[in-house]
């Protein structure tokens, strides 16, 4: 189905937004040149100004510097989690629909077991094992995200693997790698282009939610959820403080959702 002009525009907007945030996250810390952990109690709760564009928090730390680091952290961890969920998810999905039988039943049972536990709870479990550690959050996120890739890949590759085109290729003597490369992967690419930004957005939100309720990354790490809860008590005297991480979170998720488009997944 050809993409309509407005759908393409939306995806380009999403991509542009993400590139802007990525530039801010990658180059921001160096350009700002302020250590996000340096406290200066004399400069507590400064309003936005020339030296601190987004003002300072209660410890006098530069909010702009902290936001830039937080963006780096959220974007990086989300991408890493989404990618490392995609790889096993796609591999197991294709394996399941290719092998069928016991292997497929086993993999489906495993996926169902993962789905039975709410995603956030799974992440919480790992976060509880090693509080405040990056790797625990990363593993928890990847574990809750791979199921979606497994289900979509399995459903999408089954009709292809059992279809005439693959049968014809196999009869002609082409091997399994050829089938993967020429039949399965081209069909999965558009699905993955939708799924990857979706699950990255899920990871960003989960990370912020855990930080916000205090079980994710711990202060003084500059993280969006952690910053929100830190700024929460000052929302009436310094509303620009809480506005900063909330805005960045909204833009980040908006960019990912726009990039994913509103295609229906199987």
């Amino acid at each position: 189905m050809p993409e309509t002009f407005s759908a393409r525009l939306a995806r380009h907007c999403g991509l542009g937004l993400l590139i802007l945030i990525a530039c801010f996250a990658l180059l921001g810390p160096a350009l700002i040149g302020i250590d996000p952990a340096t406290q200066s109690l004399g400069d507590s709760l400064l309003p936005p100004g020339a030296s601190h564009w987004l003002g300072t928090d209660v410890y006098g730390r530069s909010v702009l510097a902290r936001i830039a680091h937080a963006a780096q952290l959220s974007l990086g961890l989300a991408l890493l989690a989404a990618l490392s969920a995609a790889l096993p998810g796609v591999l197991t999905g294709v394996t399941a629909s290719w092998c069928g039988g016991r292997i497929e039943r086993g993999l489906v049972m495993l996926a169902d077991a993962c789905m039975a536990v709410p995603g956030l709870l799974l992440v919480l479990l790992f976060a509880a094992i090693a509080p405040g550690q990056y790797w625990a959050l990363y593993i928890g996120l990847a574990l809750s995200l791979w199921v979606e890739y497994f289900r979509v890949t399995r459903a999408a590759s089954r009709p292809i693997l059992h279809g005439d085109a693959v049968q014809a290729s196999r009869l002609l003597g082409f091997g399994k790698l050829y089938v993967l490369r020429r039949h399965v992967l081209p069909a999965l690419t558009p699905l993955l282009a939708t799924l990857l930004p979706l699950s990255a957005a899920q990871a960003v939100l989960a990370l912020a939610a855990l930080g916000f309720i205090g079980v994710g990354l711990q202060p003084p790490t500059p993280e969006l959820g952690v910053m929100m809860i830190e700024f929460f008590p000052f929302y009436s005297e310094a509303p620009w403080l809480i506005a900063a991480p909330v805005t960045l979170l909204i833009l980040l998720v908006l960019g990912m959702m726009l990039l994913a488009g509103d295609k229906e997944l199987t």
Binding site: D164, A165, A168, S169, L171, L172, F174, R182, H183
Partner: protein, 467 residues
């Protein structure tokens, strides 16, 4: 005005922007009459039906005037004819199984038409629905879902619904496409009943046998132009236009019988083959020998196990009993298959050229050899830059043939390779297939539901009867 005048079409044309797809066409249809529109695919037959219904795809504009049972409207005013749908005009669509709601029982779908279109109360609709299903020979199918029906049964169910609203004009768009002789005769009989009970039938087809059986008047269309018009019997006896003669000659019943080839050594042997699906036995204790060079035709109605037999011989399916023995020394890729739907047999997101190049490379064939073969199959090289869905069915089937020949097959299993093509294309494709087989010396196992093709093409036949 005449009371029995059901349809009066004056100057119907179809344009896409400035391009004319159908030239002005006028005709009338009275109660009890059948008008057949004959032509190959792309001749504008379905466009004519859509223009009359007021159902043209977006971007196409109809011209002229339509008068249905005294209700006159401009052809471009599609909305004006919408209230007539179901009540005065019924449409029998090409793929009946797609026209039914897959998640509702057949009986309740018919009841709904009777209630909502004809306005019967619920209990009367239920009675009427049961009576109509029985009349259509579907009394047991009322409680079934569409996917449980065979193609012919679905066709009859859709026809009952198309007529349930009391429509007196039935437009049938290729109602026999892909049906075997048995169901074809059934549909023909049904259309005849409509005409005999005071309705009028506008039949769109490329199947001369249906047209011949129904009689009435005939319009021959080609590339949106009217070529010939008149009484069916007169035209068939003495066609005045060369194209009409070509169409008549393309009907498998008029093909010359193909010369019997010389048979060579044994290639595949089936011994005591049995296969059943869902408890229904397809074939039992079947013995079969296939020799190089021979043309073996398997003929019979759909769903009787013709394709299954081929798949068993190719090793794609395991028989329930018996064994398939390949001649010693046969390469693993020596058994090849042509598919009924060639589009589905190519990787959809790859150009045809790269698919062919892959096959060439795998089998160590020179690209120039393949190009020569494509030329002999009358395939233009420019088609290779396209994807499978962008090429016509006849061309793609020949490209598929060129591809399987890369593997130098000893046996080619062709599973209804031309049943979706119109007669002219079908004839060309089958002749080229026969020539390619003669040239390569491979055995051909052709599955068809068309008894005429089986007669002219087959050297040896296996007939599967309806169960």
């Amino acid at each position: 005005m005449n009371a029995d005048l059901i349809l009066e079409a004056s100057g119907i044309s179809v344009h896409a922007g400035s391009q004319r797809l159908l030239r002005e066409l006028s005709f009338t249809l009275r109660a009890g009459e059948v008008l057949t529109i004959l032509g190959e695919s792309g001749a504008g037959k379905s466009l004519l039906a859509d223009a009359l219904m007021g159902n043209l795809p977006a971007g196409l504009v109809a011209g002229g005037e339509v008068c249905i049972q005294g209700q006159r409207s401009a052809a471009r005013d599609a909305r004006a004819r919408r209230p007539l749908w179901g009540r005065k005009i019924g449409l029998l669509p090409q793929e009946p199984s797609l026209a039914l709601n897959p998640v509702r029982r057949v009986g309740s779908q018919l009841e709904e038409v009777l209630q909502l279109v004809r306005g019967l109360p619920a209990h009367a609709a239920a009675e009427q629905s049961a009576a109509q299903l029985q009349a259509a020979g579907l009394s047991a199918s009322g409680a079934q879902y569409p996917w449980q029906l065979s193609g012919g049964m679905a066709q009859r169910a859709v026809a009952s619904m198309a007529l349930a609203g009391g429509a007196s004009l039935l437009i049938a768009d290729e109602p026999t496409k892909g049906l075997d002789a048995h169901w074809r005769d059934h549909v023909t009989g049904m259309l005849r009943t409509v005409a005999e009970t005071g309705g009028a039938v506008l039949l769109i087809t490329h199947d001369l046998r249906v047209a011949e059986a129904l009689g009435g008047r005939l319009l021959v269309l080609r590339a949106g132009e009217l070529i010939e018009a008149g009484e069916m019997a007169d035209i068939l006896r003495a066609p005045s236009h060369a194209y009409t003669r070509e169409l008549i000659a393309a009907d498998p019943a008029h093909w010359p019988v193909r010369q019997a080839p010389v048979s060579g050594p044994l290639i595949v042997q089936g011994r005591g083959l049995s296969k059943a699906f869902n408890g229904k036995s397809l074939f039992q204790a079947l013995d079969l020998d296939l020799h190089a060079g021979e043309r073996f035709v398997v003929q019979g109605p759909s769903g009787t196990g013709k394709s299954t037999l081929g798949n068993v011989l190719l090793g794609l399916l395991r028989p329930d009993a018996g064994s398939v023995i390949r001649a010693p020394g046969l390469a693993t890729t020596a058994l090849q298959k042509l598919y009924q739907d060639p589009v589905a047999s190519f990787p959809p997101r790859q150009t045809l050229g790269s698919s062919l190049r892959d096959a060439c490379q795998l089998h160590g064939e020179a690209w120039s050899a393949l190009q020569g073969r494509l030329e002999r199959l009358k395939i233009d090289a420019s088609l290779l830059t396209r994807r499978p869905s962008q090429v016509s069915g006849g061309e793609l089937q020949r490209i598929a043939l060129a591809r399987v020949l890369c593997a130098r097959p000893a046996l080619l299993f062709a599973d209804e390779p031309t049943s979706r093509l119109d007669p002219l294309t079908q004839r060309q494709a089958l002749e080229l297939l026969g020539d390619a087989m003669d040239e390569s010396g491979a055995a051909l196992m052709l599955v068809t539901h068309d008894e005429d093709i089986a007669r002219v093409f087959g050297q040896r036949q296996q007939v599967f009867a309806a169960h």
